[in-house]
Amino acid sequence: MTTTNSPQTRGTLAQPPSTFEKLNDRGFRTLTRLFALAVVLMLVFLVYEITRTAWPALITYGPGFLIGSDWSVAEARFGIWPQIAGTLVSSLLALAMGTLFGVTVAIVLSQSFLPPKLEWLLTNLVQLLAAIPSVVFGLWGLFVIVPLVRPIANSLNETMGWFPLFSTRLSGPGMFPAALVLAIMILPTIASISRDALASVPQRLKEAAYGIGATRWQAILQIIVPTAAPGIFGAIVLGFGRAVGETMAVAMLIGNANTIQWSLFAPGTTLAALLANKFAEADPVVEIPALMAAALVLLVITLVINVVGVLILQRASRSLKGIH
């Protein structure tokens, strides 16, 4: 039998790769490298384009751009301090609320409080929150959250108006409803990453905790959560990153007022909302560079936050290695 195609030889004998297979392999590898490179190049190009367009504004306004609070096209004076402050305040508020809910959800969904099927269902439902488009959150905020929150906010203002955080009424859109909706939007990020962190706490640790007589709550609060803490912290930072960059829902809910006020119920603005509102109609000579500079600031803020978040998550998984 000399035919190489006979069933016996084809299945058992190793053959040197044919030219076609070699080319195929090499071609595929080149292709993957090209695509990987393209992604990196795209990012570089994006940053380059933004910086290039923003350059006139950066050299004209200098550091004053970061601390000024005017946005006047007519007088060509631009400052984004209210936007920076609004971005940080709305995101931190959202983070405070989102963390409380997110970590609680993560604990419930990871510590076998629920029957496995229900746990699976709820885990997926929380993930599903992340799939709701931003504009839907925005509309829902305007139609549901604002009317719901308004009476409470206004009674707080009437009874505790001396307290700076409650010093104005909530007329409609404002900082608080925006932060509340943001909190719900970052909930899936915080909940699912925290859940992963909690679930990856070794079973041995839990058993050891119960073994020395800890109650369930003691085991969760004093052993499991502290062990997963770096991971949870990473989740929070990534949630923060998402809140900072969130655009549509915030632009619809925050009121877009170029002011900084103590009151939670006063309207404010964010960098992302500024860009969403002004870009389409911006004056190409004066305003576009200023908007691009604002975009650059936003890019830097989110980049720093995300890098910090990823670093923390990496350290978390490294520190868990010893325990496993």
Partner: protein, 418 residues
């Protein structure tokens, strides 16, 4: 003449395929239309973009015109006056629309090949102050000094502010109306807009008379208006409806759809006037157009004239090198100032006065088109022949179409929202 052939069979889908096929095989008909469309080199597509203020009216015109001359297809994107001018000057569109006309700089920056830029007033409208006051049934009346002082922020007007609805100045102007003790929430535009330009231009004029020390400048986006901001006319209308105690400026048509109450404003002559096409027309009649056909009426003086009015322009090139595009555009513009004006009042706009129509017609005639004789639109050099066909169709048919247009218009505010 080509047009007469089609004016009878208004449905464009019938072109190129027998009637029974259309009924029996819609898919096939669509395909054959596609093929016909590709093969038929006489079909012209015009691209335009710009103001949202006249968008409902323009879309209506283009839809009606399509029935008259299906060989001309016009796509119009309501992306805002500023963005429209930008795209037009970059050569991305064949025409633009703007509520803030064009600045001399913008006119001067037109590329060489444009042969200059022509501004054509196509319709006019008014800006209303819409409000949300729960429990107040009668339309409120706002004196000049009051509404001007309501709208400014603290930096622009540190003293003499009117911040609550039961301010004595408002109560005095509205005897018998029980005004609530609510803070006034001003709703303004968050994007740059021609509506803002019309409104601030009027405010600046009023403030110049009552408080000359204020040095405020009108603009498409200003930093001296108070309150919260929302994107686009639809966004402002929506925010007002959602916010008790809100007041904001809107293009008239948008409140007609949503039923939001609008304030009766005191004009320069001291009379209180509600917004309507009639009262707006009185103010617009004062316009004196310059060489570029630009006119502003920041503060009409006639008794009974609504105080915040303005024209809106279509911007075209002085010369079109593509004869098809040029003559098709001239034909649709002529249609707009003739039959098009009859739709204006239905949709809350103000038809152009006859004298203005004549001026605009001359401007349209003066648009140069290379080799106009070979073009598709040539038959429309005479007044649009299809006029007869529209006028000839039954009354009920037209009424039905008006209803449809109004329904389409009422969808627009939501369609525009992002």
């Amino acid at each position: 003449m080509m047009t007469t052939t089609y004016s009878g069979a208004a449905n464009p889908r019938r072109i190129g395929s027998p009637r029974h096929l259309v009924k029996a095989w819609p898919t096939f008909a669509a395909l054959s239309l596609l093929v016909a469309g590709c093969a038929d080199r006489e079909v012209v597509t015009l691209q335009g973009a710009g103001a949202t203020f006249p968008e409902p009216l323009y879309k209506r015109w283009f839809r009606e015109y399509y029935d008259i001359n299906p060989k001309v297809r016009i796509s119009y994107q309501g992306i805002g006056s500023g963005a429209g001018i930008k795209q037009f000057l970059n050569g991305l569109t064949d025409f633009a629309a703007s509520d803030a006309a064009m600045t001399p700089d913008e006119i001067a920056s037109a590329p060489e090949g444009f042969g200059g830029v022509k501004l054509l007033p196509m319709t006019a409208g008014c800006v209303v102050l819409a409000y949300n006051l729960p429990g107040v049934e009668r339309p409120i009346r706002l004196p000049r000094a009051v509404y001007a002082r309501m709208m400014l922020n603290e930096q622009a007007l540190p003293t003499n502010r009117i911040e609550r609805w039961n301010d004595p100045a408002i109560v005095a102007a509205n005897p018998g109306v029980d005004l609530p003790n609510l803070p006034i929430t001003v709703v303004q535009r968050s994007d740059s807009s021609g509506t803002t330009y019309l409104f601030t231009q009027h405010l600046v004029e009023v403030l110049r008379q009552i408080q000359p020390d204020l040095k405020l400048k009108a603009g498409k986006s200003v930093d001296w208006l108070a309150g919260i901001a929302a994107k686009g006319n639809p966004g402002v209308a929506f925010t007002i409806d959602q916010t008790p105690g809100a007041i904001g400026f809107l293009e008239y048509g948008y409140t007609r759809v949503s039923g939001t109450p609008t304030a009766i404003l005191e004009n320069r002559a001291g009379s209180f006037v509600a917004a309507s096409p009639q009262s707006a027309a009185l103010g617009l009649a004062e316009a004196e157009f310059d060489n570029n056909l630009i006119a502003w009426i920041p503060d009409p003086a006639v008794e009974g004239a609504y105080p915040i009015v303005g024209y809106t322009w279509i911007l075209v090139r002085g010369r079109y090198d593509d004869p098809k595009v040029g003559s098709a555009l001239k034909a649709i513009l002529r249609y707009g100032i003739d039959q098009g004006q009859t739709y204006a009042a239905d949709l809350g706009y103000v038809p152009l006065p006859p004298a203005t129509v004549e001026q605009v017609r001359q401007a349209i005639d003066s648009i140069e088109v290379a080799n106009a004789a070979e073009s598709v639109g040539q038959e429309s050099e005479s007044p649009p022949p299809a006029a007869a066909s529209v006028a000839g169709s039954s009354r009920g048919d037209i009424e039905e179409r008006i209803e449809k247009a109004v329904a389409g218009f009422s969808e627009d505010p939501h369609g525009n929202r992002e």
